[in-house]
């Protein structure tokens, strides 16, 4: 959104109403002037250049855009960026610590839970929300929790294994990441 995000002052003639928002993204406070209709997914991708969040559909089915909103998974294509004002958003870029991978990231790699990698960020964030609520899920519970996230490559089985791998790891380390 060049004109919507970074260069709002350049073309006053566009007469687009903008609103200033402050959103904590991956622990860092970001402020932006945005059009009210701007989708959160587009703000993250284009405005904040956090392109790990993907969009795979236009009907809220695929979950490739899943981020954590105050810790809960949301489909960022179905939320206006202005709704995130004052809230915390976690994207895939905020998943790893400074040096270490999150156990989910390790699990996806170890269990070959990704191929093209397009669904992966959304999958991992949906799984993170699950594991925070339910640290020891069954396979069926993992499948249910990820049923809002489509994957076209893996056939899901290795994704399920990856999440269970991460759950084990997180329980071993007492949930410390």
């Amino acid at each position: 959104m060049t004109s919507l995000f970074e260069e709002v002052s350049e073309e006053p003639g566009t007469q687009v109403p903008v609103r200033r928002v402050a959103i904590t993204v991956n622990g860092r406070r970001r402020t932006a002037d945005i059009e009210p209709r701007l989708l959160l997914a587009h703000l993250l991708r284009q405005g904040l250049k956090l392109t790990g969040t993907h969009t795979g559909c236009d009907t809220t089915n695929c979950g490739a855009c899943t981020v954590l909103f105050d810790g809960k998974p949301v489909k960022s294509c179905t939320m206006l960026a202005v709704q995130a004002d004052g809230h915390e958003v976690t994207t895939v870029e905020g998943l790893a610590g400074a040096s270490e991978l999150h156990p989910l990231q390790e699990g996806f790699k170890d269990e070959h839970g990704l191929q093209c990698g397009f669904c992966t960020p959304g999958m991992m964030l949906a799984a993170k929300a699950l594991l925070e609520e339910n640290p020891d899920p069954t396979e069926d519970e993992v499948r249910w929790a990820l049923s809002g996230n489509l994957c076209r490559c893996t056939g899901y089985q290795n994704i399920v294994k990856a999440v269970l791998w991460a759950a084990d790891k997180l329980r071993e380390t007492g949930g410390a990441e």
Binding site: M1, L114, R152
Partner: protein, 772 residues
């Protein structure tokens, strides 16, 4: 070995096309036809042009004035880039807008006014050739009907004779409905024309970057050396990203016109309605056999819906793709196929979605026919298959339609699947459940694939031979870079090609960088589809590494002061036979190759390039067993188990092979049970979003049970066959056979995909109807 490419994807650091943000980049959006068939009487773009953020608006008339309104397709047809006189399918490109951001571009689309004069559409493939059918392709000189092409294979007379001599003949009509590959990432491009260098760079979702470059040059007149196509990370392809779409060309035209980078990213509904569909074959099958179940003849009559333009990506001499392998895994005395392809008012395509050039259709056809025959003879479907399988000693086996299968041990592959599934026990369980009125079904599919297109004498696309290249350079410090002409879309080439080279030269895979997708940097080749990477480029990778190794031997001989013939290769180094102290590593040889004294006649550097022209396709095979439960009260099908045993010869990376199989099986379950792009009488696309076009989630698929056998390809340098599409090809008939088997007590002999609850319910109640 774990995948090298994962490190960036798990961090959100993949580089997909829509991630590209270039300075000054503009956004392109396409206005699409709301109607399936209509004359365009007026297009008014004034209001759109007046939008303060709009930089450019173009219509079909604007392109026609520059002689750019039509582009060549990969099937020697033409396709409208932007419609001029008429629109021919719903979703067809009519005009485009370039604006400062994608929201403004979309706003401006709504300011364009188009007047249409509606024409009756051709929707039903079965009536497309009726004398009174409206003609779709009025753009073609003298065209008075909707015939796209006719094609035949096999021996009609011999097949007729086989049928005359048969004890049993079974006839079955079946439909392989139109589906869509629906990669999670849609198609898109960023075109960046540099007016100073006169160089066009196109970042795009393409499975075949070199092929696209050539087509861009042919279409736009920009010389080919001034075009660089970059296919960065691709979020799945599945054949959807082989053709050139109008959107790419619009972005190129806009960038050339404006001198700025222009991005086009389609949304999901555009992807489903306008990019390549898959399948859409209406088939009649006839199978002839002796009473004891020897198949004597097989006849297939196909009516193929190709949509408005023949945009099918297929080798020139194969308008019906490789459907000719429809005799499958069986030694059948006579076979004949007659295919009629027609134009309708629908989006173009046909070959996509891991079909290996129509083998999905061929395998579905033969596996259903064999099952129908088994039902007719009241023989177990496994037993009937066993009586007819091509035996290992018959390879190389020439089919009655002219294909030479390279190798296979079908009985062994089947036996492994039966073992994993516990087939006899399953049949006992089924008998018990049937006694209780439960609907349990067991479906089998024993299939043969044909992948790795292909031999240059027979196969080309746009006149470009289907060979593929690989280049290997060893750096002075012994690290390497390998450049491929094929293009991964998640299949793991960055890992497996490093493994291939590592195995041949003894450099660890971590020290080998795999470069792909940039036409300025990689050797020419036709790209990745049809599971051809391993058979073609994989072979090139082996051969180029061996060539480099041969040169390394000469240099090593100089370093060790012996004759080259006295050296023995042991992974990573050459040593003098019988003298363990005298040995040089490939890194030492590489250093010498770049500096120091070389033997006479040996030039510096350590690198080579190979273009591999395959001698034949590879023919991987598999045996699949699916177990379903059908809810008698609702018609809901639950896939309870799925056993997949694949044989792709030498397995380069078993973990990756298995992942390919899992993904393909999920496609198969999706096609068999859920997916379909259908149209109403007006030609409205009824599968235009993920609300209607249903893809399997984690809940619809079981834990896959996989196994393998290994029957190497004798003509491939490491015996490896393709595998990527096997599961998509082989699994739908297993699922359908299982559902039909479940419904057998109700007298059901066939039901067409997708076996949604309502369609199964209809079949259960004797109302099975072909999908429309």
């Amino acid at each position: 070995m774990l995948r090298k490419e994962d490190r960036r994807f798990i961090r959100g650091r993949g580089r997909f096309v829509d991630d590209q943000q270039l300075p000054g980049m503009l956004y392109l959006a396409i206005l699409r036809s709301p109607l399936a068939h209509a004359r365009i009487t007026r297009v008014d773009t004034l209001a759109a042009e007046a939008h303060p953020q709009v930089k450019l608006v173009m219509t079909g008339a604007d392109l026609a004035a520059r002689d750019l309104a039509w582009m060549p397709t990969l099937s020697h047809d033409v396709q409208a880039v932007l419609a001029t006189d008429k629109v021919r399918f719903q979703g067809q490109e009519v005009a485009f807008v370039v604006a400062e951001d994608r929201y403004a571009a979309r706003d401006a689309l709504e300011l364009i006014e188009v007047d249409y004069e509606e024409l009756p559409p051709v929707v039903d493939v079965r009536t497309a050739l009726a004398p009174d059918a409206p003609v779709v392709r009025t753009d073609l000189d003298g065209k008075t009907d909707n015939l796209c092409f006719e094609w035949e294979t096999g021996d009609a007379a011999a097949t007729e004779a086989a049928f005359a001599a048969a004890d049993v003949v079974v006839v079955q009509d079946m439909v392989y409905p139109r589906v869509h590959p629906a990669p999670l990432e849609t198609c898109g491009a960023v075109a960046d024309y540099d007016a100073v260098d006169e160089k066009l760079t196109v970042y795009s979702t393409t499975q075949a970057p070199h092929l696209h470059r050539t087509l861009y040059a042919l279409y736009s007149g920009v010389p080919e050396h001034k075009i660089r196509v970059v296919s960065p990370d691709i979020g799945g392809g599945f054949g959807n990203k082989v053709p050139v779409y109008p959107g790419y060309l619009c972005a190129i035209l806009a960038s050339v016109a404006l001198g700025k980078p222009v991005k086009w990213t389609e949304d999901r509904s555009e992807n489903l309605t306008s990019t390549t569909f898959a399948r859409d074959y209406v088939m009649r099958g006839e199978i002839a056999a002796t009473r004891d179940g020897r198949i004597l003849g097989l006849r297939s009559t196909v009516l193929a819906d190709h949509g408005a333009f023949n945009g099918m990506a297929t080798p020139t001499k194969y308008p019906g793709g490789f459907y000719g392998v429809f005799t499958g895994s069986y030694d059948i005395g006579a076979a004949y196929c007659r295919m009629t392809a027609v134009h309708t008012n629908k989006a173009p395509g046909g070959v996509a979605y891991a079909c290996s050039f129509r083998i999905t259709e061929a395998v579905y056809f033969v596996e259903r026919m064999v099952d129908r025959l088994a039902g007719e003879l009241d023989v177990d479907p496994v037993e009937l298959r066993r009586r007819n399988l091509i035996r290992p000693e018959q390879f190389p086996y020439r089919t009655r339609t002219g294909w030479t299968y390279d190798s296979g041990d079908y009985e062994a592959t089947l036996a492994e699947a039966l073992r994993i599934a516990g087939y006899d026990e399953l049949r006992r369980e089924q008998a018990e459940r049937r006694g209780r009125g439960e609907l349990m079904g067991i479906g089998v599919s024993v299939f043969t694939e044909a992948v790795g297109a292909g031999p240059r004498r027979d196969m080309d696309i746009l006149g470009l031979g289907m060979a593929d290249g690989c280049e290997l350079r060893i750096h002075p410090t012994g690290k390497a870079v390998v450049r491929l002409s094929v293009q991964t879309q998640g299949q793991g080439h960055e890992t497996t090609f490093a493994q291939i080279v590592a195995e041949e030269i003894g450099i660890p895979p971590a020290d080998i960088e795999v470069v792909h997708g940039d036409t300025d940097q990689t050797p020419f080749g036709l790209g990745t589809y049809g599971s051809r990477s391993t058979p073609v480029s994989g072979a090139a990778a082996v051969l180029v590494t061996r060539e480099v190794r041969d040169k390394a031997r000469l240099i090593a001989a100089g370093m060790l002061e012996v004759a080259p013939a006295d050296l023995e290769w042991e992974k990573g180094s050459f040593g003098v036979a019988g003298d363990p102290g005298k040995r040089v590593t490939i890194a030492e040889i590489a250093r010498r190759a770049h500096g120091g004294e070389l033997p006479p006649g040996v030039d510096g550097g350590l690198e080579a390039q190979v273009t591999y022209d395959p001698a034949n396709l590879t023919f991987p095979n598999g045996a699949y067993i699916c177990v379903v439960d059908v809810d008698p009260g609702t018609g809901v099908v639950k896939v309870r188990r799925f056993v997949a045993v694949d044989d792709c010869g030498t397995r380069i990376n078993p973990m990756i092979v298995e992942g390919q199989v899992h993904g393909g099986l999920t496609d198969g379950v999706g096609m068999a049970l859920m997916e379909m792009i259908s149209f109403d009488d007006l030609g409205n696309c009824l599968g235009a979003s993920l609300m209607d076009y249903l893809l399997p989630t984690a809940l619809e698929v079981p834990d896959w049970e996989t196994g393998y056998t290994v029957t190497p390809s004798p003509h491939h340098p490491i015996g490896a066959k393709g595998i990527g599409e096997s599961a998509t090809v082989g699994s739908p008939p297993a699922v359908v056979n299982a559902v039909v088997d479940a419904l057998k007590p109700l007298g059901v002999q066939h039901a067409d995909m997708p076996l949604t609850p309502s369609r199964v319910w209809d079949a259960m109640n004797g109302r099975a109807a072909p999908p429309i």
